[in-house]
């Protein structure tokens, strides 16, 4: 049974670019942001409209972006640069200010290129390489203060901590509701798929936050009416797939479509454009540094180093999510020249092998030329999981 609110959200997304245009005509400003540690609550509390810049899947824009960045930059970054060059994306067209972070240094490079070639107003938030050290945390707090100051300059107002508190409460509610919805997709007899929830998460990057929260509550209410008590368990017919690795932005559905077309059921993810950034964000102090520190204390992005493989928070979280969503295999997806995830593929695979979790490394880009090769790999991986599950069931019987 289709979830009616999802249809409402799709319609709202169609209308959103024109709506943003009107809001800008009335004097509001849009901040386009990208990065893993950008404290969006600060942007929101200053009265800006935050829009996440995350698009992919268009090989032509990658080619265009490569003329400005390097052809060795990841395809995501090249596409972003290409999109600014062409200025045809309806959301990119609406951005007044850009806020990038330096979690991934390729992201930092994109900020430089966009500022230099396309004369955009860009603010960059520095991110420490070592986030365990007090010095690292202190540095990030200072960066957050400076980030806030630069935004205040552009907003023409100072940050009101009461408003920041309200934004934090709004975002906390969004995160909490998203987490509740997410568990429904992984449940037995699910009425919402992971793909639908993934689209729902990404809708939040673009819609007005208060309206988005209301739509999330409405979605959750519909789900609760249809499926009172979601039970997450392995069904004999499923190959329960978890997606890890590089981000999958809006516009890029190649991998997801192939996985589902070969009979895989995606039940979880820990990707940058999926559920991960919404988990474990605990803001203890209402201040720019307090919000920033909470971001830093989440599961770290792969661009930051493994400081100790055994105690690494990213790998620990991956294990937790695999157990929670009862995943039977991990597709570790890396985009071409996405170094942070590519370099960590082997270690991740080895760590998961100790828990007998099969991992398939998939290296892809936005061109369609690898479609058949990807399908063979993904289909074989799904077959492998199903055969393994069947054998285990026969032994149990």
């Amino acid at each position: 049974m289709p979830i009616k609110t999802l249809e409402v959200i799709r319609k709202r997304l169609e209308d959103r670019p024109a709506e943003l245009n009107k809001l800008r005509e009335n004097g509001q400003k849009v901040v386009g942001w990208t990065g893993y540690n950008v404290p969006e609550e600060i942007i929101h509390a200053l009265g800006f409209i935050p829009i996440r810049i995350a698009i992919g899947g268009d090989d032509r824009l990658v080619e265009v972006g490569g003329r400005y960045a390097s052809s060795k930059n990841c395809v995501f970054i090249r596409e972003i640069v290409g999109a600014f060059s062409e200025n045809e994306d309806p959301y990119i067209q609406q951005t007044d200010i850009l806020a990038f972070d330096a979690t991934c240094l390729q992201n930092f490079r994109a900020a430089e290129v966009i500022e230099y070639y396309f004369k955009k107003d860009v603010i960059v938030l520095g991110v420490p390489r070592n986030f365990y050290w007090e010095e690292g945390k202190e540095y990030f707090g200072k960066e957050a203060d400076e980030f806030t100051r630069l935004l205040e300059e552009r907003a023409g107002v100072s940050l009101d901590l009461t408003k920041l508190g309200e934004s934090v409460a709004l975002y906390n509610d969004i995160r909490k509701t998203l987490k509740s919805i997410y568990s429904f997709q992984a449940a037995k007899d699910n009425v919402i798929s992971w793909v639908e929830v993934f689209d729902l998460i990404q809708a939040g990057d673009l819609l007005d936050k208060k309206e988005y929260l209301a739509l999330l509550h409405q979605t959750l209410a519909e789900l609760q009416a249809l499926q009172h008590n979601p039970v997450i368990e392995v069904d004999g017919n499923d190959a329960r797939i978890f997606i890890s690795g590089s981000l999958i932005p809006r516009g890029d559905r190649k991998l997801i479509n192939i996985i589902t077309s070969v009979g895989g059921r995606i039940v979880g993810d820990d990707i940058w454009t999926g559920i991960l950034p919404h988990l474990d964000l605990d803001i203890k102090e209402i201040s720019p540094a307090g919000v920033a520190l909470a971001y830093l204390n989440r599961t770290p992005h792969a661009a930051l180093p493994y400081l100790d493989l055994e105690s690494d928070r990213r790998l620990k979280k991956l294990h937790e999510l695999l157990a929670e969503f009862k995943a039977q295999g991990v597709i570790y997806h890396t985009l071409r020249y996405c170094d942070p995830f590519t370099f960590k593929a082997k270690e991740t695979k080895d760590v998961l092998a100790k828990s007998a979790i099969p991992v398939l490394e998939i290296h892809t880009e936005y061109a369609g030329s690898d479609y058949e090769a990807l399908r063979t790999r993904l289909e074989a991986f799904v077959e492998m999981i199903k055969i393994k599950a069947e054998s285990a069931a026969e032994v149990t019987v």
Partner: protein, 269 residues
């Protein structure tokens, strides 16, 4: 007790060749191997018809057919489609139950596959959008030296030296080879270098999936003894001698699976 004979077929349509194997009572009954054309359905049927003709059977005599290879996505003659990775695992296990690692080098890709004692895939890796280590690459090299594809291996084994080859990209390797020939290097020594360069590149796949003995070499390139020797040196392993044409292993695995699926579906007991 049923007196009806049961025949099972596997059809593997690859980029360069289409292969078919007919199985009866756990034994290879007949095989067919034809070059692939543009029409993958026709290629698969040609291989199957050749095997049927050799066996003196009609298509109606087959209990179940499994299609595999890149042509599996359009195989209306098959009851089911399975990837070549799963099929090579089953085929190698059927012939040699002690095999735990497979190197499959076909016309357009190369795979490293680890399997368990039942022939189930444990892990695998494929070459990444590159012709190095594929039949197509060797075809290009055969063209450069103006020798038959099947003579490349023997020629490389006659080498007295190894001329290092830095490129495994088909286009760059072709131009590098032409430069080496112009420099006066002997074709056998250059080919020795080419085979070792490919073998070293393939070693990278095994860094991902690991190697456990016994090791099997399947696919059309497995007929090339020069490549077999180079891989044995690079991976420091001994490759199991195949009992049948190694190019037929995918089709054989598909036939084994046809037997398993049809039994599960109650088509015979």
């Amino acid at each position: 007790m049923s007196l009806k004979r049961n025949f099972f077929a596997g059809v593997d349509v690859g980029s360069l060749a289409a292969k078919a194997v007919i199985l009866e009572d756990g034994k290879v009954f007949a095989t067919g191997l034809v070059p692939s054309g543009f029409d993958s359905v026709e290629s698969g049927l040609n291989a199957l018809n050749l095997a049927l003709e050799t066996a003196g059977l009609k298509k109606e005599d087959l209990t179940y057919i499994v299609g595999t290879g890149y042509g599996r996505v359009s195989a209306p003659y098959a009851n089911k489609a399975v990837t070549e990775i799963t099929c090579h695992a089953k085929g190698a296990n059927f012939l040699h139950p002690t095999v735990r690692t497979i190197i499959d080098m076909g016309g357009q890709d190369c795979k490293a596959i680890r399997i368990d004692e039942d022939g189930a895939v444990v892990d695998f890796a494929m070459n990444d959008k590159c012709a190095a280590g594929t039949g197509r690459f060797l075809e290009v090299m055969a063209g450069v030296f103006k020798v038959k594809l099947e003579d490349l291996g023997a020629l490389s084994l006659s080498a007295t030296e190894l001329v290092p080859m830095s490129s495994t990209c088909t286009v760059f390797a072709e131009s590098e080879t032409i430069s080496l020939v112009a420099r006066g290097e002997k074709p056998a020594n250059i080919l020795n270098g080419i085979h070792h360069a490919i073998a070293n590149r393939i070693s990278g796949l095994f860094a991902r999936v690991g190697i456990t003995s016994d090791v099997f070499f399947s696919g059309g390139v497995a007929k090339n003894n020069g490549m077999k020797t180079a891989i044995e040196e690079a991976l420091k392993v001994t490759i199991v001698k195949p009992e049948i044409d190694p190019q037929l292993i995918g089709a054989l695995g598909a036939a084994v699976l046809a037997r398993n699926f049809s039994k599960k579906e109650g088509l015979w007991s």
